[in-house]
C-alpha cells in the first residue's frame, strides 16, 4: 500500500464511500489537484528529490521516499556505536560518488580510515572538523555547522550536537539548512526526544541485536508511525557468529559451544 501522493489516482486512504457519497462533488478530490495539497493522513512529499537511504523498508516510511534535502534530520541514539553510520553509509556514498564533499562535525571518537573504506566511503571526499578542542570565551560550537550549511557547497553534513541544546539553536540550524542542497544529519542524545525541535524528521535509534537496528519515527511530515522499524544493517558478523549471537545467556548456553579465548600462561 503506497501512501504517497499520486496526482492521477485517488489516494489510498480515501474516506469510505458510504458516508460522504452524497456530499462529495463530482469533481476530483482536492489532494489530487496539486502536489502541494495533502491530507493529514497522507505521507508528505518533498519538493526536491529525496536521497534514497538504501533501506527499502525505511524509504517507504520517509516522506519523499528518502532522506530530505535542505532540512535537518535528527537521529537520537542511546550511545555511540549502534550502527548509526551503517544506516547513513549508503546515502553518504551516493553523495560522494556525485563528486561532493561530506563533512563530519565533532565525531564522538576517532574515525578509522580503513573502516570508512569498508563502509564504501571515500576518505578523499571527507573532512572532519573539531570545534570543541579550542574553546575561546564566547566561542560558538555551532558556528562551524551553520557556516557549512549556509555555504551550500557541501554535499552532506553529519554533525554531533552537544547535549542540552536549546530549541532555538536547532531552529537556527534548520533555517541555515535551507541553503544546503543535501542531507544534514544531526546525531543527539536520547534525552533530546522529549524536547521540541524544528527538524522536520526525527528518528530514535536502538540496537535490536547484532547487526539489527530498531528505528522509531518520532516526527515526520505525515501520519505518526507507531510501530518501530527493524532494519538489517550491513553485516559485521559472519553467519556462524550471528547464530552464536542469537543464543542468549542462560537459556541455551549449552547448545552452542561458547567461544574459547586463547589464553597464555606465563610460565616464567
Amino acid at each position: 500500500m503506497n501512501p504517497r501522493l499520486n496526482p492521477v489516482l485517488p489516494p489510498a486512504s480515501a474516506p469510505p464511500v458510504g458516508r460522504s457519497a452524497g456530499l462529495r462533488a463530482t469533481g476530483p478530490s482536492p489532494e489530487s489537484l496539486h502536489p502541494s495539497l495533502w491530507r493529514a493522513n497522507q505521507l508528505g512529499r518533498s519538493a526536491e528529490n529525496a536521497l534514497p537511504s538504501g533501506f527499502g523498508l525505511l524509504d517507504a516510511q520517509l516522506p519523499g521516499g528518502g532522506w530530505p534535502r535542505r532540512a535537518l534530520t535528527e537521529l537520537m541514539l542511546p550511545h555511540l556505536g549502534i550502527g548509526e553510520i551503517r544506516l547513513l553509509a549508503a546515502s553518504l556514498a551516493a553523495t560522494q560518488s556525485a563528486g561532493r564533499l561530506v563533512m563530519m562535525f565533532d565525531p564522538p571518537a576517532a574515525v578509522s580510515a580503513p573502516a570508512l573504506a569498508e563502509l564504501g566511503l571515500d576518505v578523499e571526499q571527507l573532512l572532519v572538523i573539531h570545534t570543541h578542542l579550542q574553546l575561546r570565551p564566547g566561542a560558538d560550537r555551532l558556528w562551524a555547522l551553520e557556516q557549512a550549511l549556509k555555504s551550500g557547497h557541501v554535499g552532506a553534513v553529519v554533525g554531533w550536537l552537544p547535549p542540552h541544546l536549546r530549541s532555538e539553536r536547532v531552529r537556527r540550524l534548520q533555517l541555515a539548512a535551507h541553503a544546503h542542497d543535501g542531507p544534514a544529519f544531526m546525531l543527539r542524545e536520547m534525552a533530546a526526544q522529549s524536547h521540541a525541535s524544528a527538524a522536520p524528521l526525527r528518528l530514535a535509534l536502538h540496537s535490536a541485536g547484532a547487526d539489527q537496528l530498531a528505528l522509531r519515527v518520532l516526527k515526520r511530515r505525515g501520519p505518526p508511525l507507531l510501530a518501530p522499524l527493524h532494519l538489517a544493517l550491513p553485516p559485521v558478523l559472519s553467519a556462524t557468529a550471528w547464530r552464536r549471537a542469537q543464543v542468549r545467556d542462560g537459556a541455551d548456553a549449552h547448545a552452542l559451544q561458547p567461544l574459547r579465548a586463547a589464553t597464555f600462561v606465563n610460565l616464567a
Binding site: 550511545h79 555511540l80 556505536g81 549502534i82 550502527g83 548509526e84 553510520i85 551503517r86 560518488s97 563528486g99 564533499l101 565525531p107 571518537a109 576517532a110 574515525v111 578509522s112 580510515a113 580503513p114 570508512l116 569498508e118 563502509l119 564504501g120 576518505v123 578523499e124 571526499q125 571527507l126 573532512l127 572532519v128 572538523i129 573539531h130 570545534t131 578542542l133 579550542q134 558556528w143 562551524a144 557549512a148 555555504s151 551550500g152 557547497h153 557541501v154 536502538h206 540496537s207 535490536a208 541485536g209 547484532a210 547487526d211 539489527q212 550491513p234 559485521v236 558478523l237 557468529a241 550471528w242 552464536r244 549471537a245 567461544l259 579465548a261 586463547a262 589464553t263 597464555f264 606465563n266
Partner: protein, 507 residues
C-alpha cells in the same frame, strides 16, 4: 586625446573622516591649519563655522565640533589610491595636486564600449574609496583640470567647445591668476575669456610668462606632456587613527579603508593578492616603547574580494589579544599573483563550488585553527591506532580533489558489492581496560558476549610500538557490537587488569 579630470573637492575632510571611528563620522568636522579653520563639512557649515575663523570662534559656535589637523601627506595617500583605482582603466593617469586626477581615455573607449559605460564603471570602482567627485571631460589635460574645479559633469567634445567653457571660467583658477587675483580683479578681469582678448605681450610683462603658458596649455595651443603615475611594486599604506582603537570593530573600520586601497592597487595591475599583513602600532605603556603587532593573513586562493579579506581579518582579530589600544594601522603586501578570475555563472559549476569550498574551509580554519579542520589519510599499518592519520586540510589537497572531480574521475564506489566490515569505525583514543567476570569481559557492569575472533595482529616491532593482540568482536547486552583485544603475552600491564581491552565500537 580625450582627458577625464576628476576633482575631489572634499579630499582633506574625507581623508580625515576615514581616520575617525564609525560612530563619529556623521558629526560636524573642521580642519585646522596654523590655528585657523581651513575647511568645514556640511554639518559644521550649517552651524555657522566658516573657513578662516579662529579656533575659539568656531568652538563657541559649535561646541560639539570635531577639530583635526590638515595633513598633506594623508591627503596625498588618499589621492594616490584614487589614481591607482583609475589605472585599471588607462595607463595614462596623472596626478594634478592638490586634489585632482587626470585620465587619458581615448585609447580605452573602444574596450569599455563608449564614454558613458567607462564613466559608469569608474564611478563604481571609486565608490569604496568614499570620495565626492567632480568629473569633466575635455580635449586637453589642463583645460579639463581647470574646469573640474568649478564645474561638474561637463563634456567638451572639441576645442571650440572647450574654448567656450574656458571663457566663462574665473581667473583665479590659474596658479598665476591666484597670485595676482587682487590686481586682476581691480582691472576688471574676472573671466579667462577677458584675459584671452588682451594683448599677450602686455600680459606677459605685467603678470609673467607663467600665466600665458597655463592659458595656452588649457586651450590646446601649447604642448603639455604629462608624466604618468608609476605603480609601486610593493603595496604599503598607513592610516593614523584619530581616536585610539580599543575594540576589534574600530580596528576593522580603519582596516576597511586600507583594504579598499589594496584592492585599487591590485585592480591597476589586474592581479590577485596571496598574502598580506596588517601592522598595528600601539600606544606606549609603562615604559615600553611603541609595540607593533603584525597579523599575517595568507589566502588559500589569490583573491581580490575586499569583503572576503575583511571576514578573514575579523576572524583572526577576534582571536588575537592586543597589548594596548591601537594608534596607527598599516597594510603591506608584496605577494601577488596574476591568475584568471573565478567565473561568476548562474548555476553552480564544479569550479565555483570548489572556490566556495575553499573559502568555507579558509573561514573555518581562520576561526577554529588550522589543525581542527582535518582530512583522514589511511596509513598501511596493521595496528588500528596507527592506521589513520589526521592531517590539516591543505589548499593543495583541495585543488587536487577539484581537479579529479572536474576530470570526471569518480571516487571508488561499491554500489552492489559490499565489502566485509572487519574494522570498527569508532576507535577509542586510548584502549580502555575491562574487568573480567567468570573469564568474560565486563563493560559498564554487563557481561559481553564474545562472538567472533580471534584475529591476531602483530606489528610494530620496528618502531618500538610493539602490538601483539588477539582481537574479538563482542556484543553488549543491548546488542551493540564492540571490538576488544587481549594482549597476547601477559606482559606486566600498568593497572593490573587481566588483559581485556576495549578498542573500538562498530558504527
Amino acid at each position: 586625446m580625450l582627458w577625464v579630470a576628476l576633482h575631489l573637492p572634499l579630499l582633506s575632510l574625507e581623508s580625515f573622516a576615514a581616520t575617525l571611528p564609525p560612530e563619529q563620522a556623521g558629526q560636524p568636522l573642521a580642519l585646522m591649519d596654523a590655528h585657523r579653520i581651513v575647511s568645514a563639512n556640511a554639518g559644521a557649515r550649517a552651524l555657522g563655522v566658516e573657513a578662516g575663523m579662529k579656533r575659539a570662534t568656531a568652538l563657541s559656535l559649535a561646541p560639539q565640533l570635531l577639530l583635526g589637523q590638515a595633513d598633506a601627506r594623508r591627503d596625498a595617500d588618499a589621492l594616490t589610491s584614487v589614481a591607482h583605482a583609475a589605472l585599471a582603466f588607462t595607463p595614462m593617469v596623472n596626478l594634478s595636486p592638490p586634489a585632482g586626477v587626470l585620465l587619458e581615455v581615448q585609447a580605452s573607449l573602444r574596450y569599455f564600449g563608449g564614454l558613458a559605460p567607462l564613466l559608469a564603471r569608474l564611478q563604481v570602482t571609486l565608490a569604496p574609496l568614499n570620495h565626492r567627485l567632480r568629473c569633466v571631460i575635455a580635449p586637453t589635460a589642463q583645460g579639463a583640470a581647470l574646469l573640474s574645479r568649478v564645474q561638474d559633469r561637463l563634456h567638451c567634445a572639441d576645442r571650440p567647445a572647450l574654448q567656450q567653457a574656458l571663457d566663462a571660467a574665473p581667473t583665479w583658477l590659474l596658479g598665476a591668476g591666484q597670485v595676482h587675483w587682487d590686481t586682476l580683479q581691480g582691472m576688471g578681469l574676472r573671466t579667462l575669456g577677458e584675459l584671452r582678448r588682451l594683448p599677450r605681450a602686455g600680459l606677459a610683462r605685467r603678470f609673467g610668462e607663467a600665466l600665458l603658458e597655463e592659458l595656452d596649455c588649457a586651450l590646446g595651443d601649447r604642448p603639455d606632456p604629462r608624466e604618468p603615475v608609476i605603480l609601486p611594486s610593493v603595496f604599503c599604506s598607513q592610516i593614523e587613527l584619530f581616536a585610539r582603537a580599543d575594540t576589534t570593530e574600530q580596528v576593522l573600520h580603519g582596516a576597511q579603508i586600507l583594504l579598499a586601497r589594496l584592492v585599487a592597487w591590485l585592480s591597476a595591475q589586474h592581479a590577485f593578492v596571496c598574502r598580506f599583513s596588517l601592522l598595528m602600532k600601539h600606544e606606549a605603556r609603562w615604559g615600553h616603547s611603541h609595540a607593533v603587532t603584525v597579523l599575517d593573513i595568507a589566502l588559500a586562493e589569490p583573491s581580490r574580494d575586499p569583503a572576503h579579506m575583511l571576514v578573514l581579518l575579523r576572524e583572526r582579530l577576534a582571536a588575537l589579544q592586543l597589548p594596548a589600544p591601537t594608534l596607527e594601522l598599516a597594510l603591506e603586501s608584496d605577494d601577488i599573483s596574476h591568475r584568471p578570475p573565478p567565473n561568476a555563472e548562474l548555476f553552480p559549476t564544479p569550479q565555483s563550488e570548489h572556490a566556495g569550498l575553499t573559502r568555507l574551509i579558509e573561514r573555518l580554519q581562520a576561526r577554529l585553527g588550522r589543525e581542527q579542520v582535518q582530512r583522514l589519510v589511511p596509513v598501511a599499518d596493521h595496528r588500528p591506532e596507527w592506521a589513520t592519520l589526521a592531517q590539516p586540510a591543505e589548499p593543495l589537497w583541495l585543488r587536487q580533489r577539484e581537479a579529479k572531480v572536474a576530470g570526471g574521475e569518480r571516487p571508488r564506489t561499491l554500489p552492489g558489492q559490499s565489502l566485509a566490515i572487519t574494522r570498527p569505525l569508532w576507535l577509542l583514543p586510548q584502549p580502555q581496560p575491562l574487568q573480567e567476570r567468570q573469564s568474560r569481559p565486563l563493560l559498564d557492569g554487563q557481561v559481553l558476549q564474545v562472538l567472533a575472533g580471534p584475529e591476531r595482529i602483530e606489528a610494530g616491532w620496528w618502531d618500538g610500538g610493539l602490538a601483539e593482540r588477539d582481537y574479538f568482536i563482542a556484543q553488549t547486552a543491548e546488542g551493540a557490537l564492540v571490538w576488544l583485544y587481549r594482549a597476547r603475552l601477559p606482559l606486566p600491564v600498568a593497572g593490573g587488569s587481566k588483559g581485556w581491552y576495549l578498542q573500538g565500537r562498530f558504527a
